[in-house]
């Protein structure tokens, strides 16, 4: 049977869709197969309670590559990213720490806590800005393999070497520190205010199984800082209509370029003949042929779930089996009849339009991790809270609100395993921890959805509920992601490609993996 399609994309997550859109734009006949009734993967908006729409899993957009937005005309397909302007961290003593969009306002706020930190803050910001600027080109580049003598790898390493040398000694050393230190240690070099360090350290642990005092967490700090780099234009934001609208707009673009997207179509197997991918098999037994297949799923699902072991070299299988997931975050989505009232900042001020960070001290954060280290969810977790309906009123009925709570830690491998009772106990812990700072929260709740890493895995497929399709740990980045030698979106099976966040540069609603994979495929004429 001849191939009907040039390419089949397994999984209609945002990376799969970006990949499909770029391939279709280049004239390829592309078919996207998504197992769920809607596209988006972990970037979906669902009305889980009548009238209340939730970005069910992924809830903020920071790293979505602007060139993707432009190339695919995503605003023309309904994408609008709204700024998340502030962060407020309530403290146990009734005080708070706030970061505002206006520089002077932020400085004055920091001065309340420490005059020295207020000054260091600008310098720190400048350094991180430079670091992010230094690292960002790497995000847009196919990672060269340092052990390979192939001309393209050598050229890539040379480019990278030049790039790092161009940084100068001071910045190179800072980069080295970022690559090796813990977020807490790194921040200690800059600041003395505990709540400031705790709040900053939060972006060093998101999506990882690390605590703020674990080495390696400083890099994750940087990874998230890059989201702020669109630079002069703060890019941390909230997609109007929820993160599902990111996926919908990419799907719209892909369709306009001629791609076909089928939902409720579960792929169970990649068809391989003579070492070459020739199509896929669906759950219902249908076979669909294509000249190439690309998977937006994580490496474990793709290679251990859909490819016959005999088709893969055993060292590659070993690498994929060792690729760490260890989902560590949960999500609690609340439908609210009224707004929460924070003791530290009563009323409905502009602070509610930004992020509320439950990160009162470094010890609090590290203790939250301690629980997880020993297989329990955090009794008092770190939480990143946003109220999207205050930014985009369309998310809830007029006057009512939705609250999104990202929670860490909720280990996938919970002692005794996750049960319904444990899920609810976890939800209670979250609400109780929040109630310490916003006592009226319990009376505001109309509906509560608690999602554990196990739920994330069950619903989206993400292995062990890891939001980044594999930990953003140093040994799993760049030319090691997902496996040494196979970091360039290709795989040991000819015609089988990978385009998910399990490849370089990794997680967040970034789309870079999908785009770079499309470039690799077009280069191969696959």
């Amino acid at each position: 049977m001849a191939a009907t399609w040039d390419t089949i994309v397994i999984g209609g997550g945002h990376n799969g869709l970006v990949n499909a859109a770029y391939l279709a734009r280049a004239g390829r006949k592309v078919l996207v197969l998504e197992k769920r009734p809607r596209v988006g993967g972990a970037a979906v908006t669902e009305e889980i309670f009548p009238g209340f729409k939730f970005s069910m899993f992924s809830y903020v957009v920071s790293l979505l590559r602007p060139e993707i937005i432009r190339d695919l005309d995503l605003p023309g397909h309904g994408l609008h990213i709204l700024p998340l302007e502030s962060t407020v961290t309530p403290m146990f003593n009734g005080d708070y720490l706030a970061g505002w969009p206006d520089h002077d306002e932020t400085r004055r706020e920091l001065c309340r806590h420490s005059l020295r930190d207020a000054e260091a803050y600008d310098e720190y910001g400048r350094l991180m800005h430079f670091m992010a600027h230094a690292v960002r080109p790497i995000l847009g580049m196919v990672p060269p393999d340092p052990t390979s003598m192939a001309p393209s790898d050598l050229a890539g390493m040379l480019k990278l070497g030049k790039h790092f040398r161009g940084l100068g000694a001071e910045k190179f050393h800072a980069l080295f520190k970022l690559m090796t230190m813990s977020a807490a240690d790194f921040l200690d070099e800059w600041f003395e205010t505990d709540v400031l360090k705790a709040t900053k350290s939060a972006s060093g642990i998101i999506g990882t199984f690390l605590g703020p005092r674990s080495p390696g967490s400083a890099y994750v700090l940087l990874h998230h800082y890059m989201g702020e780099l669109d630079g002069v234009f703060r890019a941390w934001g909230f997609a109007k209509g929820g993160t599902g609208s990111v996926s919908e707009s990419i799907a719209g673009a892909a369709r306009r370029f001629g791609a076909e997207i089928r939902t409720d179509a579960t792929v169970t197997k990649v068809l391989i003949k003579d070492g070459r991918a020739i199509g896929v098999v669906l759950e219902n037994g249908d076979e669909i042929r294509a000249r190439s297949v690309v998977s937006g799923l994580d490496p474990r699902l793709t290679f251990l779930g859909m490819v016959d072991r005999k088709e893969l070299p055993s060292d590659f299988i070993g690498d994929i089996e060792r690729f760490k997931f260890r989902g560590s975050s949960g999500k609690v989505n609340l439908a609210l009849g009224a707004l929460p009232d924070f003791t530290c900042m009563p009323g409905h001020g502009p602070h509610l339009r930004g992020a509320m960070s439950i990160s009162p001290s470094l010890d609090y954060m590290e203790r939250a991790y301690d629980d997880a280290k020993y297989g329990e969810f955090s009794r008092e977790p770190y939480m990143d809270i946003v109220i999207p309906s205050l930014i985009d009123p369309g998310m809830a009925p007029p006057g009512k609100h939705v609250m999104s709570i990202f929670v860490q830690y909720a280990p996938y491998h919970l002692n005794g395993g996750w049960t319904d009772a444990k899920r609810e106990a976890f939800g209670d812990a979250v609400v109780n921890a929040l109630a310490r700072f916003a006592p009226n929260i319990k009376s505001c709740i109309l509906h509560r959805q608690v999602l554990t890493p196990l739920d994330m895995e069950r619903i989206t497929g993400l292995t062990e509920g890891n939001i980044f399709q594999g930990e953003l740990a140093l040994h799993q980045l760049f030319f090691m992601r997902p496996a040494p030698g196979w970091a360039k979106y290709r795989s040991p099976v000819k015609g089988l490609y990978q385009c998910g966040a399990g490849t370089h540069p990794g997680g967040g609603i970034m789309g870079a993996s999908g785009r770079l994979a499309a470039m690799a495929m077009l280069e191969d004429r696959a």
């Binding site: 432009r70 700024p83 002069v232």
Partner: protein, 396 residues
């Protein structure tokens, strides 16, 4: 003598966190209410923005020959303007060069309201010789608010029983807005779904209060001129004395522009019997305009390269700019951009520019001057169709 306050000043002044005011037609107008204007811009595109546009010049034109007068003055055909309809239109001098642009609303058979950016009563008088019309400058008598954004309709529907759903693009209706008689027109300067609300100046505050009250659950956000400027550039809408010079103010001939040169050919009705500038415009239409007013999309990779040369990420002004910037074809300056802005929505750096007609075709590769660390460079730019952003909801 101080600048004037608009009828909404009692409400807008306490909101102006940074005391960021600017001048507009002798009034003070808010540049932005919050310290950072970005959220006000986003409200236009994602929720609803409330703008005080009272400083507009507003004229009442009534009488048996009111239509006749306006038909002489503006380039569009007033005979076809139905009661309840609004025109956007330029008006020209006898040489077919633009004096101003604004709106003409037909409130009744013999009753019109005109808005203008510049004082226009003298020009109307000069053209009303022998006509039975009454002209009145109602600029200070009327307050005006602009409610712009995707939620604008839902907000108005809370406040009036008038048929807001049935109100089409560039149509108007009389309405009772929580007890205050107003006129609501589906117009604006943002290229989005939006309305302008006109009321007696002494009833202005209750209208503001009602809109804030009903609009809060819909994300209504008071918005200043900085946010508006970004939106109007995205919408490809021109601004007098920025994008073109009124022929009444121009010092030399080449400063002037015709409607054809401003991409407003669609507003010029050469079918109608006579209007000021018709002959000149007819001739220009015959030979083809020399200039064109186009959109420029400044290439991001090109900006990144220019900034990378000095070791920086691209750094663009946080607010829209309003200065003349050279536009090149190859090494030769062929035109000039007059307004530009980063578009946070489109993630593009965009500008409005005057170029000779042969460079006006969409897709034409040009370059725009950009100053990188004190040195003048050229960034690649492509001519694109305006509006840069044109949501369906604008007209639906």
């Amino acid at each position: 003598m101080a600048l004037k306050f608009t009828p909404f000043h009692a409400r807008t002044a306490p909101l102006n966190a940074g005391h960021a005011w600017r001048r507009w037609a002798g009034y003070i107008a808010a540049s932005s209410y919050e310290l950072v204007h970005e959220r006000e811009y986003h409200a236009i595109r994602s929720a609803a923005a409330l703008l005080d546009v009272s400083p507009l010049f507003k004229y009442s034109i009534t009488g048996r020959d009111a239509a006749k007068l306006l038909d002489r003055v503006i380039t569009r055909n007033v005979a076809k303007l139905k009661p309840g309809q609004v025109y956007y239109t330029p008006w020209c001098d006898a040489a077919g060069k633009m004096i101003d642009d604004g709106t003409v609303s037909r409130l009744g058979e013999n009753e019109f309201r005109m808005t203008a950016a510049d004082p226009t009563i003298r020009w109307l008088h000069l053209n009303s010789k022998g006509l039975d019309v009454t002209l009145e400058d109602v600029s200070e008598k009327l307050g005006a608010l602009s409610l712009q954004g995707p939620n604008a309709r839902a907000i108005l529907k809370q406040l009036t029983s008038a048929d807001i759903d049935g109100l089409k693009y560039f149509r108007l209706t009389k309405a009772d807005l929580r007890g205050v008689p107003v006129t609501i027109s589906r117009t604006g300067y943002t290229g989005d779904l939006g309305y302008e609300i006109w009321m007696d100046a002494d009833r202005a505050l209750p209208v503001w209060d009602a809109l804030i009250d009903a609009g809060t659950p819909y994300g209504i956000t008071p918005c200043g001129m900085l946010g508006l400027d970004m939106a109007r550039i995205e919408a490809g809408l021109m601004l007098i004395e920025v994008d073109y010079v009124s022929s009444h103010h121009a010092m030399i001939e080449r400063q002037k522009s015709s409607p054809y040169e401003m991409n407003l050919g669609w507003t010029v009705n050469l079918e109608k019997e006579w209007f000021v500038g018709k002959a000149a415009l007819e001739a220009e239409q015959q030979r083809g305009p020399e200039w064109s007013f186009v959109g420029l999309d400044i290439d991001w990779d090109s900006l990144e390269r220019l900034y990378a040369e000095v070791g920086l990420p691209p750094k663009l002004p946080a607010a829209a700019w309003r200065v003349s910037v050279p536009v090149y074809s190859g090494a030769v300056q062929v035109g000039y951009a007059t307004s530009g802005s980063w578009s946070p929505l489109l993630k593009k750096y965009i500008a409005l520019a005057h170029v000779p007609a042969q460079y006006a075709k969409p897709g034409t590769a040009l370059a725009m001057e950009i100053t990188v660390e004190h040195y003048r460079k050229k960034a690649a730019a492509t001519v694109v169709k305006t509006p840069f952003f044109n949501p369906e909801r604008k007209k639906s």
